[in-house]
Structures are given as structure tokens and as C-alpha cells.
């Protein structure tokens, strides 16, 4: 049974002059252990898709099944990582990571243990008492990652997590994300990554879902059969890049 199953998802916002259709009839499923990337131009609703899966944005029509059942409200087993990091500026790194754990009702000792464990895993050992404004962009996103990992979710939902970082930091964070995904003792083995950078999607994912420009429709579900670690300069890689690019171009 697939971990996540989306059927005929649509989302529209009421607008002064009618309604704004953001997502139009998207269906796909995600199996446990898969790294799925969702690619599309800006405004195609891919970020909204992630929020619908997590539950903070209600869908207009369709169904989201998690482990075969519909989830009411927020799905706490799907943790979001935000493009803008979304850290509370007045909480330390430690407090930021413990915040969702407190909401889950986890006792203080366990909270502290998990926070130290995942701060360590993202390489921020020693920065527990730092405030977000004292950190660089890459470190802030590491905190965001640690916060999502600390709740030990089943699915990691990443919303353009590297777009706000410079190219070099993004490269190292991508590698770290792959490490986290592949590590046997990692809490999460299923990742859904949204991005507008085609190369990033092909470098990281097993499957690439291509979404058209707004209203977003599913154009293709490509399985990336390339050996890992992916070589950006190989012909296979370029073939996939061209394919995705042309798919998006056709529909714009």
C-alpha cells in the first residue's frame, strides 16, 4: 500500500472576480522509501500541494490518503521544511527544535535527548544556545531540518528548502539531505521535495513529478533510472533535464 495517495486534488481560492484555480486535478502516490521531487515553474501550486498534504491548507476537492486513511486536520507524521526557514527569532536553536516536541506532549527529558541528537546530526553541535540571527543561512536551514527530523516523521516535506541559500551552501545541504535519507538509523526514509530547479530534482530524486504552470496539472511522472551518486555531466542526466524542460516549455 502506498504511504501517500493523492486522488484528483484541486485547490482554488475565492477571488473578487471569480475564483483563482491553483491546482487542477492532480493525482499521484508515494511509496515508503521514495525520494520524490515535484518540479514546476513559479506559481504552479507545488508549494500549496505540500501544504495540502501536511494539512495546513484545506483542499477544495479530492482526497489525500495517508496509509490508506484520511487524516483530519494536521498530519503530524509529515513534517515541513520551509523555504524561508521559519524559525522563531526569539527562541534559541534548542528551543526552536523542541517547540514541536512540546506540542506533541513529549516529556522534557526525551525532548532534550532528541534535540541534542538531531542538532548533532545536522552538524550544529555547540550552537544550541545561539539565536537564529546569529546563524548563517545554511545553518538556519539546518535548524529547520533538525526541527523537522526531531518529530521523527514518516514523510519529510521540503518546500524549496535550498532556494534561499547561495549556490555553494545549497550544494553541501543537498548532500546532507541525501545522507539523511540514506542513513539506516535515520527516522525518515520518504522525502517529498518541491523545487523549481530541474537539475536539483534530477540529482536528488527517484521520481520527478512535473507540474505545469498555473493552474497546476500533473504533466509527467518520470522515474529517474540513473546510478547514484548522480553525475551532472553525464548524458543520461542531461537527457532527463532536457525532457523535463521541454515538458514544461510545451505547456507554457
Amino acid at each position: 500500500m502506498p504511504l501517500l495517495e493523492l486522488t484528483h486534488i484541486s485547490k482554488h481560492y475565492p477571488h473578487a472576480k471569480g475564483s483563482l484555480r491553483v491546482i487542477e486535478d492532480i493525482s499521484f502516490s508515494v511509496n515508503e522509501g521514495e525520494f520524490v521531487a515535484i518540479v514546476g515553474p513559479s506559481g504552479c501550486g507545488k508549494s500549496t500541494l505540500l501544504r495540502i498534504i501536511n494539512g495546513i491548507v484545506p483542499l477544495s476537492s479530492g482526497q489525500v490518503l495517508y496509509r490508506g486513511r484520511q487524516v483530519d486536520g494536521i498530519n503530524l507524521e509529515c513534517a515541513l521544511v520551509f523555504q524561508s526557514f521559519a524559525l522563531m527569532p526569539w527562541l534559541t536553536v534548542d528551543d526552536n527544535i523542541e517547540m514541536p516536541l512540546e506540542a506533541l506532549g513529549i516529556p522534557p527529558a526525551e525532548r532534550r535527548r532528541r534535540a541534542s541528537l538531531y542538532i548533532d546530526k545536522v552538524g550544529l553541535d555547540g550552537f544550541e544556545e545561539a539565536y537564529p540571527r546569529e546563524l548563517s543561512g545554511g545553518m538556519k536551514q539546518r535548524v529547520g531540518l533538525a526541527r523537522a527530523l526531531a518529530v521523527e516523521p514518516k514523510v519529510l516535506l521540503m518546500d524549496e528548502p535550498f532556494s534561499a541559500l547561495d549556490a555553494l551552501t545549497a550544494i553541501s545541504l543537498r548532500e546532507e539531505t541525501l545522507d539523511i535519507w540514506q542513513a539506516p538509523d535515520s527516522p525518515v526514509h520518504t522525502i517529498l521535495l518541491v523545487t523549481h530547479i530541474i537539475e536539483e530534482a534530477i540529482e536528488l530524486a527517484d521520481r520527478v513529478l512535473v507540474i505545469s504552470a498555473g493552474p497546476g496539472r500533473l504533466l509527467a511522472d518520470l522515474r529517474i533510472e540513473l546510478p547514484r551518486p548522480r553525475d551532472r555531466r553525464s548524458d543520461g542526466f542531461n537527457a532527463f533535464t532536457d525532457k523535463v524542460f521541454s515538458l514544461i516549455e510545451e505547456r507554457s
Partner: protein, 578 residues
């Protein structure tokens, strides 16, 4: 920087403030020469006079506002020119903001009436000046802040293309000021109405003068117990305020949005929520009127533009000697103005010292106790405000619709000058409880709470969407969200709102601690009461001066010791940008 250096800076700053303050007061005492002779007309309370009175009040507000607008643009842009200008001009406004408006009353009346040789014109000018002082300072600060926060890129564009002077003013500086000017104009009008109603009745010693207007109408009607007329007056006031909101402030706010320096994509949140059809239609009135204006003004504007294009541009190089001459003239005029100012200050300072050298009246001994009593009252009113406003803020943080509704209600209710209801409030509370203390606390409340509410609502609306999403996506409950997100995020707004609220509270003291109604004087022990008694009953200028100075001193000390520190702390810890 060593801490001793900072303390010297602080001390110098405070000393400088006091000097400026003394200068302002001295300016007025420079003209404390001839006693005013006022002619008293008869006053009619028939409802048929309402349109006339409404018009009188409105034009007074408008005149004061136009003056405040011009002043704030000139002053604010001037202060933004450079550090030297800023160092001098901003502390002046800081002090002026702390001076309770009505403290200027006797001086203003004497000044304007002696200029106009007695008569109504002098009193009208005094009222307009008073309204001006309650409107101008926050607008000037808004202009200054806008000019200072223009992004460096925009400034560089103008420098790089050699555009300066009038073009820069028209295309860069003025547009940048629009959002804050509109916002502060709305606040200024609210403050103006509050004091106008109280200002229309001027008592200077034995003379008792009523300017035709809504304030005096309401006061007279309450005095004579004509409840029908009171209701009519209040409804008229409400009608004016609502009409202004729909026809002026709403379209202006929409227009001002165009000038915002925001580069983030607007969320669905920022769209106006769907309202009941009738209200929605009413909201269209404003933009329609604006469009109408544009249509009417388009042809003459086009003609003017064509004319201007016909005239060949003046090249500075061809007229260099003329420009040099003009610059010299300008320097000369400034020098003359400065000399006149200095003479007035010296003259006034002498008069001030001479006044203070007179034996101090016995009531002066009550000043410390009265100050404590007033502060206690302010604290209680502040606590009551927080008690109802913070829950409203928390509720508004989860629903944009509620926030919008609250803001609209607050705008209308907060605009109605509570001073119009003072007679009723005082009588009601005294009849029920027999204590003026409670009544004065309630009156102070009306001058404090709206600032707090507006600031907090603004703070709530500025909580970044992604932080709210993060809290929700990780399953944070309502209480946890309030504790971890909303309250920390609005703390800077809470402090700013509190500073403004306390400023409003100090101003309201003068109207709340001393009240004459139906020839019965209600008063409590307090600084405001002391000042009022000195102004309206005994006419003792030394006492007026002492109470005024004490109030200003306390305000300045509180601002520096408490509010400044709290604000710095709040901005340091709870700043949203990182």
C-alpha cells in the same frame, strides 16, 4: 564604547531636551503681556444650529490639519537631511509630543488674542493652534521616518542620474512619505477631534468663552439637561466621522498602498475580506469619488503640463549670479529669523525667571503627592486597557477576518471623541458610585486604550505568514501559539503602543481630573487637577508654570528611564527580521 561615554551621551541628551523645553515655554511667556479681553457672544443650543456648528468644528480641524501637513513635510524632510539637522530637530519633537496640549492653552490664548486685539478671531486661532499641536508631531515623525528608510538603491538612482531638487522631491521623497503620512493623518484627526471638543470652551481666569462648534454645543446641551439635543449632536459628530472614513480615509489608504516599498508577493490575506453587500457597496463610494476627482482634474492638468513643456527649461549656469544672490537672500532671511527667535527666547526666559522668582503658592507643596496620585491613576487605566486589549489581540491573531472587523470597529469607535461624552460619563459614574476617582480613571482610559489597540492590531497583522504556518504545521495548539509566537512577535508593538498610550494618558489627565458641570466642580488630587485649578480658577501663573514643568519633567524621566529601555530591549530580543 565604554558605558561612561554612553551615560554622558544620555545625560547630555536629557539636558538638551530640558533646554529646548525651556525655550518653548519661554517663547510663550515672551508674549504674556497684556491680559486678554474677550467678548462673550450668546450661545444657542437649538438643533437647527447643528449644521453650522458642525461646519465650524470641521473647518477648524481642516485648517489645523493643513497647517500640520505642511509643517510635517517641511520639518520631517528637513530633519532627514543630515545628522546635524536630525540631532537638533528630533529632540524638539520628542519634547513637544510630551507636552500636554492643554498646557499650551493660556499661553496660546494670550498670544493670539493680543495679536488680534481681543475678539473671536484670536480665540479661533488659539483653538486651531491647539489642534495643530495635537496633530503635527506624529505626522512630522512619520515623514522623517519615511525619508530615513528610503532604500539606499532608490537614493542612488537619483544621485546617479543627476536628478535633484524639485524632481527628487516629487518623485522620491514625497511618494515615500505617503503611506506613513496617511496612517498618521488618520491618527492625527482622531487626536484632533478628541481635543477640539474640549478646546471649544476656553476659560481664562474670569473670562469664559465658547466657540461655536460641536464641542461647546454638547457641553451646553449637557449643562442644560437637553438630552434630545445631546443625541442629535452626537449623531452629527458620528456622521461626520463615518463620512470622512468612507470618503477620505478608505480611498486614501488604498491609494497609499501603491507607494509601499514591499517586494513580497501579497498573500490572499491582504485582499479585503468579503463583506455584506451593502457595506461592500458603500466601500465603493470612496474609490468612485476618487475616480471622479481624477476625471475632473484631468483636462486642466493636461493644459498645465502642455504649457510647462512649452517653456524652455532654465539652465542654472546661465543665471549663476542670480542664483548666488538668491542663496544669499535665503541665508539672510534665516539669520534674521534666528535672531528674532533668540530675542524672543531671551525675553521669555527673563520673564520666566522673574515669574519663578515670585513666592511660590502654598499649593505647590501638593505637587509631589499629586504627581504620585496621577501616576497611580494612569497605571490603573493602563492595566484595565491591557486586560481587554490583549485577549482581543490574541483572538485576532488567528483570524484575519476578526482582525479586519476589530480594526474597523476600533477606527470608528476610537474616532468618536470620548470628550464629547465626558459630561455624561462623569454624571453617570458619580451618580452610581459617588467617586470622582473612578470617573477620572474611565476618562483617562478613553485617551489611552485606542493607541494600544491600534498598535497591537498592526503588530499582529505583521506576524510573518511562514512563522504562522510553521506553528500550525507542527501541531501547536492555540495556547502554545499565543505563548511562543503571537505574544513575543507583538512585544515591540506593545511597547510602542504603550508609549503612545501613556502620552495620550498624560494629555487626558488635564481633562479627566478636573471637571466643571452644571456649575459644580468635580476634581481629584492630581497633577492635571492642579494645573486646571491654576488655569481656570486662580489664574496663578507661577502655579501653572510649576505644575506644567512638573508634568513635563515626569513624562521625560519616565520616557527615558522606562520606555526607552523597554523599547530597546524589545527590539533587540523580538525583532522579526533575521
Amino acid at each position: 564604547m565604554s558605558s561612561s561615554a554612553i551615560n554622558i551621551r544620555r545625560f547630555a541628551g536629557t539636558a538638551f531636551s530640558f533646554l529646548i523645553l525651556a525655550a518653548i515655554i519661554a517663547l510663550f511667556f515672551a508674549y504674556h503681556r497684556r491680559p486678554a479681553v474677550l467678548h462673550l457672544p450668546r450661545f444657542s443650543v437649538s438643533a437647527r444650529q447643528l449644521p453650522y456648528y458642525a461646519f465650524c468644528s470641521f473647518y477648524r480641524m481642516l485648517a489645523a490639519y493643513v497647517l500640520a501637513l505642511i509643517f510635517s513635510i517641511v520639518y520631517g524632510l528637513g530633519a532627514a537631511r543630515g545628522r546635524v539637522w536630525e540631532r537638533v530637530m528630533i529632540p524638539i519633537i520628542d519634547i513637544a509630543q510630551s507636552v500636554p496640549v492643554v498646557g499650551f492653552f493660556p499661553a496660546a490664548v494670550y498670544f493670539f488674542v493680543s495679536i488680534s486685539h481681543g475678539g473671536r478671531l484670536g480665540v479661533e486661532l488659539a483653538a486651531i493652534f491647539l489642534i495643530f499641536t495635537s496633530q503635527a508631531w506624529n505626522m512630522a515623525l512619520g515623514v522623517y521616518e519615511s525619508a530615513r528608510t528610503i532604500p539606499g538603491d532608490s537614493l542612488e538612482v537619483f544621485q546617479a542620474f543627476g536628478a535633484s531638487g524639485w524632481l527628487k522631491l516629487k518623485r522620491l521623497l514625497l511618494p515615500a512619505c505617503v503611506p506613513k503620512l496617511v496612517y498618521n493623518s488618520i491618527l492625527s484627526w482622531v487626536a484632533g477631534w478628541y481635543f477640539l471638543i474640549a478646546c471649544e470652551i476656553i476659560t481664562v481666569g474670569p473670562a469664559h468663552y465658547r466657540l461655536p462648534g460641536l464641542g461647546s454645543y454638547l457641553m451646553e446641551a449637557a449643562d442644560r439637561g437637553r438630552s434630545g439635543e445631546i443625541v442629535a449632536g452626537l449623531l452629527t459628530l458620528l456622521a461626520i466621522i463615518v463620512a470622512m472614513d468612507f470618503m477620505v480615509w478608505q480611498p486614501l489608504s488604498v491609494w497609499a498602498d501603491k507607494f509601499r516599498y514591499e517586494f513580497a508577493a501579497s498573500s490572499p490575506d491582504s485582499e479585503a475580506p468579503e463583506t455584506v453587500a451593502i457595506v461592500g457597496a458603500l466601500y465603493q463610494i470612496g474609490p468612485t469619488i476618487l475616480r471622479g476627482f481624477r476625471l475632473i482634474l484631468a483636462p486642466p492638468a493636461a493644459v498645465l503640463r502642455a504649457l510647462r513643456e512649452r517653456i524652455p527649461p532654465l539652465r542654472m549656469r546661465d543665471y549663476s549670479s542670480l542664483w548666488r544672490g538668491l542663496r544669499l537672500v535665503r541665508i539672510g532671511l534665516v539669520l534674521i529669523a534666528l535672531v528674532l527667535l533668540a530675542w524672543a527666547i531671551v525675553d521669555g526666559a527673563v520673564a520666566l525667571v522673574r515669574a519663578l522668582a515670585q513666592p511660590w503658592p502654598a499649593e505647590a507643596r501638593m505637587i509631589p503627592l499629586a504627581t504620585l496620585a496621577s501616576i497611580a491613576r494612569l497605571v490603573v487605566a493602563y492595566a484595565i486597557s491591557l486586560a481587554w486589549i490583549i485577549p482581543c489581540t490574541l483572538a485576532a491573531s488567528s483570524s484575519a477576518r476578526l482582525r479586519q472587523r476589530l480594526a474597523s470597529i476600533a477606527e470608528i469607535v476610537g474616532s468618536v471623541p470620548a470628550t464629547a461624552l465626558f459630561p455624561l460619563i462623569v454624571v453617570f459614574v458619580i451618580e452610581v458610585t459617588g467617586g470622582m476617582n473612578l470617573a477620572s480613571i474611565l476618562l483617562i482610559l478613553t485617551g489611552m486604550q485606542w493607541y494600544l489597540l491600534f498598535n497591537l492590531l498592526a503588530g499582529v497583522s505583521q506576524i510573518p505568514e511562514d512563522l504562522k504556518e510553521a506553528a500550525r504545521s507542527f501541531g501547536l495548539g492555540r495556547l502554545a501559539t499565543w505563548r511562543k509566537l503571537v505574544l513575543p512577535a507583538v512585544t515591540p508593538s506593545l511597547i510602542t503602543g504603550s508609549i503612545t498610550a501613556w502620552g495620550g494618558g498624560w494629555n487626558a489627565l488635564i481633562l479627566s481630573e478636573y471637571f466643571v458641570y452644571r456649575s459644580h466642580t468635580y476634581q481629584v488630587l492630581g497633577l492635571g487637577a492642579l494645573l486646571d485649578v491654576a488655569t481656570y480658577q486662580t489664574g496663578n501663573s507661577v502655579m501653572i508654570l510649576l505644575s506644567l514643568l512638573s508634568m513635563i519633567a515626569v513624562v521625560i524621566v519616565l520616557n527615558r528611564l522606562v520606555w526607552r529601555r523597554l523599547y530597546d530591549l524589545a527590539v533587540e530580543r523580538y525583532r522579526l527580521d533575521y
